[in-house]
């Protein structure tokens, strides 16, 4: 997976890179000047280091927006069992649905784990019957409805 030649070797991250990254994790919009001051280095160094890490696709500094900012009020985790069709093919079809924001092939009792965000429960019937229902190879769905999100801290994602 990490064979892409454009990728920066993590060992090439030095201490300054790691310190800059650590600041950006907690405040991605800290200005170059603020970071420079905190680390006692030049602002131009900060800007060059960030650009280098971003161009190497090692990091991307973004605004993550809350589910509610998109009007999503219902969050589901659905375990999917597959039959008569390769799990990956089913997963590809599921990943293409706009309501699905996470689609993982997994080991264990289920074959696929989905994360689904809906505006409200009235969207559920269309999603289940008209969208998931049209995908072949699904044997069963085991949903869990998110009631309370205690922690949600993902700062890792495949960057394209």
């Amino acid at each position: 997976m990490a064979t892409d030649s454009t990728m920066l070797d993590p060992s090439k991250f030095d201490d300054i890179d790691r310190k800059i990254l650590s600041i950006l994790k907690s405040d991605g919009r800290a200005t170059n000047q603020e970071i420079a001051r905190a680390l006692k280095i030049a602002a131009a160094t900060v800007s060059a280091r960030i650009r280098r890490m971003e161009e190497a696709k090692a990091i991307r500094v973004v605004a993550a927006a809350d589910f509610s900012a998109f009007g999503f009020n219902v969050l589901l985790s659905i375990g999917v069992e597959v039959q008569n069709r390769p799990a990956e093919a089913v997963a590809e079809d599921l990943a293409a649905l706009s309501e699905v924001f996470g689609c993982h092939l997994v080991t264990g009792a289920k074959d696929i784990d989905l994360l689904v965000a809906l505006h409200d429960f009235s969207d559920l019937s269309d999603f289940l019957l008209n969208k998931i229902g049209k995908i072949h190879g699904i044997r069963s769905l085991s949903p869990a409805i998110a009631v309370d999100i205690v922690k949600y801290d993902f700062d890792v994602s495949v960057l394209k």
């Binding site: 599921l94 689609c103 784990d113 949600y152 801290d153 495949v158």
Partner: protein, 176 residues
């Protein structure tokens, strides 16, 4: 629910910053045809209301490709919330969601190796009083994951050893 409703401008700002959080207010203002002060004010409000958070997303291949692991937990009712809080503190655990359905708690973790998965699932979570069942599944392939959608949980400061350059935005109640 006293949160204000986002308008078109807020959505445009979120869209721009979702691609690159380091664009200057001036550039966003020019792009969206409003003043820099408006952009500054909107971003401040979006942050204060916990609609957005600025962070750096790392590529897993630069972190030694950690394993994403889903841990489903069945628990004795009445203990669920307390257990969820404890699990949230465990090493490697990135998300903890109290759910209704196939599990009572869904925890998601990133682990360097299978040994640490076992350590958290079997040695740390399973022995907790009130835990009835723990089911672990390891992600072998991610077909889709949108890291720009998140739950902004303000009440859980994470363990950053980073020197903070600015005070964190004002804390708001969790309760939506």
């Amino acid at each position: 629910m006293s949160r204000y409703q986002l308008d078109q401008l807020d959505h445009h700002i979120i869209e721009v910053l979702g691609k690159d959080a380091r664009v200057s207010n001036r550039k966003i203002a020019a792009k969206l045809g409003v003043t820099e002060g408006t952009i500054r004010g909107r971003i401040k409000r979006l942050q204060e209301e916990n609609y957005i958070r600025f962070t750096a997303i790392s590529n897993p291949s630069h972190l030694g490709n950690p394993r994403l692991v889903l841990v489903g937990i069945l628990a004795v009712q009445g203990q669920v919330r307390k257990l969820a809080d404890r699990i949230a503190e465990m090493p490697g655990i990135r998300a903890v969601i109290v759910t209704l359905g196939r599990f009572d708690i869904l925890a998601v973790g990133l682990f360097d190796d299978l040994e640490s998965v076992l350590d958290v699932a079997n040695n740390s979570i399973l022995p907790l009083p009130g835990v009835r069942h723990v089911e672990t599944s390891i992600v072998v392939k991610t077909l889709k994951y949108n890291s720009r959608i998140a739950k902004i949980v303000p009440s859980l400061p994470h363990d950053d050893s980073a020197p903070r350059v600015k005070p964190a935005p004002a804390k708001k109640k969790r309760g939506d």
